[in-house]
């Protein structure tokens, strides 16, 4: 010890040893702290759903709650502004409810709470064999929201009407934006309107913007919520149908559910942002992705809508169109049936059906057929398809494999008891993202009646993001 103190290098050695020991401790513990993993998003059953069927007069409303809900609950179907006693009740989950409504009926609100809300789905379908609106037309009853996009033909091509309903207790201030082929249309009369609670109104887009051949419409609220639907009537012998709501502007959009067969297939793409963009277009068919010759991309100027005829490109195959761009876009598609008097159907950008999808009204018969067109643009998809008949026991569910980067068409079989039925499509664990659409057609002597409905997210489950109280949110 004495030698250590007297040696000039003694203390240096001691300190170095101590530092070495510290290094050792720090080295051994260098794995440090692994931050607690963020819990995966959970899901909870939806507790309350309300949808508005815009104009069911002369048509049929179908509503269904898929089985599986727990606890008590109730679902009612009532005309907005109608007598409370006129409300119908959806009796039990798993059994579709249908009713044909008289021609003069106003919008109908389908609302459910508790167990009857989880997955509540309503559709209105009209079938007309004469008149300007001849054709098969169906639309998913709309959920009130703050922003709804429709993409399709403009007032110069078709008579497009917006059905706006305020089913809430608060007043809604609404703005309608029109993006035409030449850019956003600024209306001189102003695009705003106010809907009082319970009020509904029909607006002709022609009154806002008379000239566009093609267009995208955004119905958005400045305050409150609105249930918006849009219907396009192309004219005598050209058919009519409802425009399905498109997904919000995004840089990657999938337009699913394009029916096979002959007829026109026209794609509409809108870039509502401030910058021009080039949209890359790929078709996803049963044979996989392929870029259509001369139709690989589409230039869309800022704030405007562009269209592209894909009829020859897809070549009559059931397909989905996958669009990517640098700027957010919305997209829609028009398909026409064959025959001397055509019918028209619309599809639009749709989300992947993560928690499943329900289509309330499907028909199968001798002349009528319903098909699901499912696409798995990435990994292979695996879904279970369950039909829910109005009468009789539900058949066993069918599991369907969709190979990766393929589209698959599934023909829905009529239930044993006949009649209309609902379909539940549920992705199974391990499945890649699946997009889909339902096509329903009816052969008539004059031609094919056609309607499509892109599969929307079922309202069964809500994704609960992991939430934590933290003061750090006051800072970016």
């Amino acid at each position: 010890m004495r030698g250590l103190i007297e040696n000039r290098f003694g203390f240096l050695a001691l300190v170095l040893i101590a530092l070495g020991a510290l290094f050792g401790v720090a080295f051994v513990t260098r794995q440090g702290v692994t931050p607690a993993p963020v819990p995966a998003p959970g899901r909870v059953a939806v507790e309350s759903v309300s949808t508005v069927c815009p104009a069911p007069g002369g048509g049929r409303i179908s509503a269904v709650t898929p089985p599986g809900g727990k606890g008590a609950g109730a679902a009612t179907i009532a005309e907005i502004g109608g007598k409370p006693s006129g409300a119908a009740k959806l009796e039990q989950p798993g059994v579709p409810w249908q009713r044909d409504l008289p021609a003069k009926s106003g919008p109908v609100k389908v609302a459910g709470t508790g167990a009857m809300a989880a997955g509540l789905e309503a559709t209105q379908t009209t079938r007309q064999l004469t008149g300007a609106a001849r054709g098969l037309a169906g639309v998913r009853c709309a959920e009130p929201g703050s922003s709804t996009w429709f993409v399709g033909p403009g007032p110069a091509t078709a008579d497009v009407q917006l059905y706006l309903t305020n089913a809430d207790a608060a007043q809604a201030v609404i703005e309608v934006m029109v993006y035409a082929g030449e850019g956003p249309v600024v209306s001189e009369s102003g695009n705003g309107l106010v809907l009082k609670p319970g009020e509904h109104r029909t607006i002709r887009v022609r009154d806002l913007a008379p000239s566009p051949l093609i267009m995208a419409v955004e119905v958005r609220t400045i305050s409150g919520r609105v249930a918006a639907s849009a219907r396009a009537v192309l004219g005598k012998g050209k058919g009519a149908d409802w425009l399905p709501a498109s997904t919000e502007p995004a840089t990657s959009v999938v337009v699913p559910g394009i029916p096979g067969g002959g007829g026109l297939r026209e794609l509409y793409v809108t870039a509502p942002g401030d910058a021009d963009t080039v949209v890359h277009i790929k078709a996803l068919t049963a044979d996989g992705f392929y870029a259509m010759k001369n139709r690989e991309s589409l230039d869309v100027p800022a704030g405007s809508t562009a269209s592209l005829d894909l009829s020859t490109g897809i070549g009559g195959q059931p397909a989905a169109i996958v669009l990517t761009s640098e700027m957010p876009i919305v997209a829609g598609l028009m398909a026409t049936g064959t025959g001397t008097r055509q019918d028209v159907a619309f599809s639009a950008g749709a989300p992947a059906i993560e928690v499943g999808s329900v289509v309330a009204d499907n028909r199968s018969g001798k002349k009528v057929s319903s098909r699901l067109i499912l696409s798995a643009p990435a990994a292979a998809g695996k879904v279970r398809v369950q039909t829910l008949p109005r009468r009789g026991a539900a058949p066993a569910p069918v599991e369907v494999q969709i190979p990766g980067s393929r589209t698959k068409e599934i023909k829905l079989a009529a239930p044993a008891g006949g009649g209309d039925y609902s379909v539940v499509v549920l992705p199974l664990p391990g499945s890649g993202p699946v997009y889909g659409g339902r096509v329903m057609d009816e052969r008539t002597p004059e031609g094919l009646l056609l309607t499509t409905q892109p599969l929307a997210l079922a309202r069964t489950w809500a994704i609960v993001p992991p939430v934590a109280e933290s003061s750090t949110v006051v800072l970016p």
């Binding site: 440090g32 702290v33 607690a36 998003p41 929201g145 703050s146 809500a462 109280e469 933290s470």
Partner: protein, 1022 residues
């Protein structure tokens, strides 16, 4: 023809002054200009003064008066009895302790002959003992009555002030005054038996148009026996200091014209109170009392003052222009005040020299910055001071590096909550018993809020300024603190400059600035002060050590409030020191005990909170975010003092410092201290390893504080060998090269860190212009502190939320404790809303008093969709930068629940922490619910207390009568308030005990008997 020779009468007044009287009498009798008459007055001396006077002047020339007679009365009594000579007649007044030089009278008369207006003349007064020290060459006052001799303390007489000059006043010791003027003016005021009677007389003489002259050719030696308390005063039993001050005030107020008087009264009030405050701080309560008592006694007897003013009315206003130029120049007062503050800060206590009766004070303490004492111009002095240069350089480096943070909007980011609010808001936060912020909390606000509030008050209420200075200025502040603190440890200024620069530019500092770590920044500035105070506690003289211990305790409490870990570090090292030095030096153990106990006592309630959650010891003030720390801090970074996280230089930047400190181990001198320094370093690094590896609330703490602690030991160890390096350098040859190399290596660290810091700048996360999460709309929409849920999604997918009360949280509010149960319950509700499942989650959220949901941008599409689809919410606005939703049916902070569970909002107004609610009449069984956690609340309606209950498992409810009416809801915070007062008292006490006190102010100077320099001569009697 020669003018008739004037007649001069000397009057010697004696009072218990035999010690000096003999020499005085000698001086009188040996004048070269013989006196025409001499008279002795004895004011009842008990030491044989009368006998001595009789021996000198003869029995007929001595008058005996009672003991209580004042000087003025005594002279007046003599003049009453003294017949006039008819011609020009002069009176020469002498104290028993003032011995005139033999040529004094001659010189005075010569000067009097030279000036027709001269009526009062005085000699140059020198000290009795130290015969060359000047006491007075005429005295003046400022408007607040402070004496000013115009001399430096202990100034030697080298003829530098010689000449005949007019002055405001001369002392009565040796005063030559024309008898007719004396009688015209009424002589000395009998109301001023001692002190300032001379000033009063001379003032009146000047005002009457005469000249008061000081003649430096005439010399007298004065013992100032009364002021120095060499003898008891019989004329007054008041302490001479208080008497002097009172008389000074009295004379000034009596002689000033009316308008000046008003100004003088106001000024004296302010100045006296300030002086009292300073004196109290210096622990001189007796002086402080005198100061106040003097003022009160003058202002308290206005009649006496009126009388005196009436007597002086004649020439006061007309003569004032003559008096005015003789006052002390006005700048003098400020210089004096500055001297006093400086004296206080330097530890010698606020004794202002010229304010005492004479110019002599005890030897000034050795100045602290001795290098400041070179006799050069101020600018040169400042600019050649290495400490100042270092600070300027560090300020320059800081400004260059923090260029992005210097101006702009809200400062915030990283760990720092955007700095909003002012000092009053922080004080309110600290003092209120219940904090209506966030989810509501009755806990103690973190004590650093009080420190920041105090600092903000100093910065005129601007919290942002205080925080900016502390955080952004932490590098220069730390440099300054290190430079000043090591003054007594390291002698060589260059070594200290290196030390301070190395310390200030540690990676810890740049990291703390970049991440907005206010806690580390404050502790970083305080650590050198801890080191200095601790070394004083261990090695200092006992009283100083105790004082340092109190100071250390106080500063440690401040540091602990910001970063509790520093207490643990200091406590462990302090404990070891107490064990090693406790036996060697008496009182060290107790002193260290005081230093370590003070923080615990001062921070008591908060310490209890911390003890309940020990992990928080590792954390610091501000937000704890995993993104701000390096989760896998490499071992070499820890050893190289790099704490990781944003804004730190590469780990190798500090290599030179470590190398220099290792080299310091090779020197023999100071080896023990170097070893102790290294011991501190090893301990600090060990704690840093623990801090960097132990997760607290999901992420490890930032090891900045322990690494700064480690660096302190390391740098002090290295700097101690600075002089040795210089010696090596002087040795020349190979050693010189070695020394140069070592210096080079040692200097790489500060230069590298500074260079890299400037090059990279501060890139955040601390930033200017943090967007406020609470918009003006929300602020206007929640006037009574209604809640707003703020939702922000993070990259990891975790959705964070918090509840704000209509404003951005104050600094410190985010550290308030929130009960885990409440937090979980609210998390479920928010998750339900964000999932968009429908349901009544929004309604439940309303019962928490929430009115808005704000989502700062970019707004996540799913969150937006969920909020939009909730019928209980209405969107107010949505833009890329933010979205805001409002409850359709908000309940507010108070609402009623009826028997059926129906909730209805009520009218209420917030007042402080409580509420006043107007309850409408209604059903029998209704509950008034306060959307605050239950417990501690009381409610009163018309004087009766309401029965309390807990609603929904957490909220505070009260049964309300069916008649309704006004209900006052309050939070009972009696014990909280009581403890706050106690805390205030404790802080004041510690401050007083820690502040530098004067050395015993009235220390009895050794007053040896008069040194007899001349051979004794027999007293000449005439």
């Amino acid at each position: 023809m020669q003018p008739p020779r004037p007649s001069v009468t000397a009057i010697v007044v004696a009072h218990d002054g035999t010690r000096w009287l003999k020499e005085t009498l000698e001086g009188v009798l040996r004048q070269t200009r013989p006196l025409d008459r001499v008279v002795g007055v004895d004011n009842g001396s008990r030491d044989g003064g009368a006998k001595m006077l009789t021996e000198a002047f003869g029995p007929n020339a001595v008058l005996t008066l009672p003991r209580s007679t004042g000087f003025g009365e005594a002279v007046a009594a003599v003049l009453e009895r003294l017949p006039r000579t008819g011609g020009e007649e002069w009176i020469w007044l002498l104290h028993d302790d003032s011995a005139p030089d033999p040529r004094a009278l001659e010189a005075l008369l010569w000067a009097a002959a030279g000036d027709q207006k001269a009526a009062v003349l005085g000699p140059k007064l020198r000290d009795w003992l130290d015969r060359r020290t000047l006491l007075e060459i005429g005295v003046t006052v400022d408007r607040s009555g402070r004496r000013d001799t115009g001399l430096e303390p202990r100034e030697y007489d080298q003829g530098q002030h010689d000449g005949v000059h007019q002055t405001l006043s001369v002392s009565t010791a040796g005063m030559l005054i024309r008898r007719d003027v004396w009688e015209q003016l009424g002589g000395l005021d009998a109301g001023l038996p001692l002190f300032r009677d001379d000033l009063d007389l001379c003032w009146r003489a000047t005002a009457a148009g005469y000249h008061v002259l000081n003649v430096t050719d005439a010399v007298a030696w004065h013992a100032e026996a009364a002021t120095r308390r060499r003898r008891r005063m019989a004329a007054s039993d008041v302490h001479p200091r208080r008497l002097d001050r009172r008389n000074a005030l009295f004379v000034v107020m009596a002689n000033l014209p009316f308008r000046s008087l008003l100004w003088s009264v106001a000024r004296n009030l302010v100045v006296s109170l300030f002086r009292t405050f300073l004196l109290l701080l210096a622990k001189q309560p007796a002086n402080a009392l005198d100061e106040v008592a003097a003022l009160v006694s003058v202002l308290g007897s206005p009649r006496r003052l009126m009388k005196a003013r009436k007597a002086r009315r004649k020439n006061r206003k007309q003569g004032y222009p003559q008096v005015k130029p003789l006052f002390t120049p006005s700048g003098m007062a400020y210089r004096r005040l500055a001297d006093m503050v400086q004296g206080y800060l330097s530890g010698s206590g606020p004794i202002d020299s010229a304010g005492r009766h004479h110019a002599v004070i005890s030897e000034p303490a050795k100045e602290d910055g001795e290098e400041l004492l070179t006799d050069a111009g101020l600018m040169q002095r400042v600019l050649s001071n290495p400490g100042v240069l270092l600070c300027l350089a560090l300020v320059g480096v800081t400004l260059a590096a923090e260029r992005s943070l210097l101006y702009g909007d809200l400062l915030g980011g990283g760990a720092l909550v955007p700095v909003v609010g002012g000092a009053s808001d922080l004080w309110h936060l600290y003092t209120s018993g219940y904090h209506a912020s966030g989810l509501g909390s009755g806990g103690w606000a973190p004590p650093y809020v009080a420190v920041l509030a105090a600092l903000s008050t100093v910065f005129l209420g601007k919290t942002w300024l205080a925080v900016s200075v502390l955080l952004l200025g932490c590098v220069p502040l730390a440099g300054l603190s290190a430079y000043v603190a090591t003054r007594s440890m390291i002698s060589h200024p260059l070594a200290r400059v290196w030390l301070a620069a190395s310390y200030a530019l540690l990676p810890v500092a740049t990291g703390a600035v970049a991440a907005g770590r206010l806690g580390t920044a404050v502790v970083f500035v305080l650590l050198p002060a801890y080191a200095a105070l601790a070394s004083k506690v261990i090695t200092g003289e006992r009283r100083a050590a105790r004082r340092a211990a109190w100071g250390l305790g106080l500063l440690l409490a401040v540091g602990t409030a910001f970063a509790p870990l520093v207490y643990v570090l200091v406590a462990v090292v302090g404990g070891l020191a107490a064990v090693s030095f406790g036996g060697v030096r008496r009182g060290v153990g107790v002193s260290l005990g005081i230093a370590l106990a003070v923080p615990i006592v001062l921070l008591f309630p908060w310490v209890v909170q911390i003890a309940g959650d020990p992990g928080r010891i590792l954390l610091e003030a501000g937000l704890h975010r995993p993104g701000l720390v390096d989760l896998r801090l490499p071992p070499e970074a820890l050893l190289l003092l790099s704490p990781g996280g944003p804004g730190v230089p590469p780990v190798w930047a500090t290599g030179g410092l470590i190398a220099a400190a290792l080299a310091a181990l090779l020197f023999r001198r100071h080896q023990m201290v170097v070893i102790v320094g290294w011991g501190v370093t090893v301990f600090g690094v060990l704690v840093a390893i623990v801090a960097a590896r132990v997760p607290v609330q999901g992420a490890p703490a930032w090891p900045g504080v322990p690494l700064a602690f480690a660096a302190t030991g390391l740098i002090v160890a290295a700097a101690l060998t600075g002089h040795r390096v210089i010696e090596l350098h002087r040795a020349g040859g190979l050693r010189r090269a070695g020394a140069a190399f070592m210096v080079l290596v040692a200097c790489t660290t500060p230069l590298l860190v500074a260079g890299l810091w400037i090059k990279d700048g501060v890139r955040g996360p601390l930033q200017r212009g943090v967007p406020s999460v609470v918009s003006d709309f929300v602020a206007a929409g929640s006037p009574q502190g209604e809640g707003t849920v703020v939702l922000r999604s993070s990259a990891s997918g975790l959705l964070g939320f918090t509840v704000l009360r209509g404003r951005t949280p104050l600094i410190g509010e985010t550290d308030l404790p929130v009960p885990e149960a409440t937090r979980d319950r609210l998390s479920d509700v928010v998750a339900g809303i964000v999932s968009g499942r429908g349901g009544d989650d929004a309604g439940t959220l309303a019962t928490y008093g929430v009115r808005f949901i704000a989502v700062p941008g970019p707004v996540d599409a799913k969150v937006r969709r969920s909020l939009d689809s909730d019928p209980a919410l209405v969107r107010v606005s949505l833009s890329p930068s933010a979205g805001l939703w409002r409850m359709v049916q908000p309940l507010g902070r108070a609402y009623l629940v009826d028997e059926g569970g129906r909730r209805t909002p009520v009218q209420y107004t917030a007042s402080g922490a409580g509420l006043t609610v107007t309850v409408p009449p209604g059903q029998v069984k209704r509950t008034l619910v306060l959307a605050e956690p239950a417990g501690g609340w009381t409610a009163k309606a018309g004087g009766t207390s309401l029965a309390a209950s807990t609603v929904d498992g957490w909220a505070q409810g009260f049964e309300v009568p069916s008649a309704g009416g006004r209900v006052t809801v309050e939070y009972a915070a009696f014990w909280h308030d009581a403890w706050l007062w106690a805390q205030l008292a404790l802080v004041a006490l510690v401050l007083i005990l820690a502040s530098p006190g004067a050395r015993s102010a009235e220390a009895v100077e050794e007053y040896a008997e008069m040194p007899v320099e001349r051979e004794p001569q027999e007293v000449l009697a005439r």
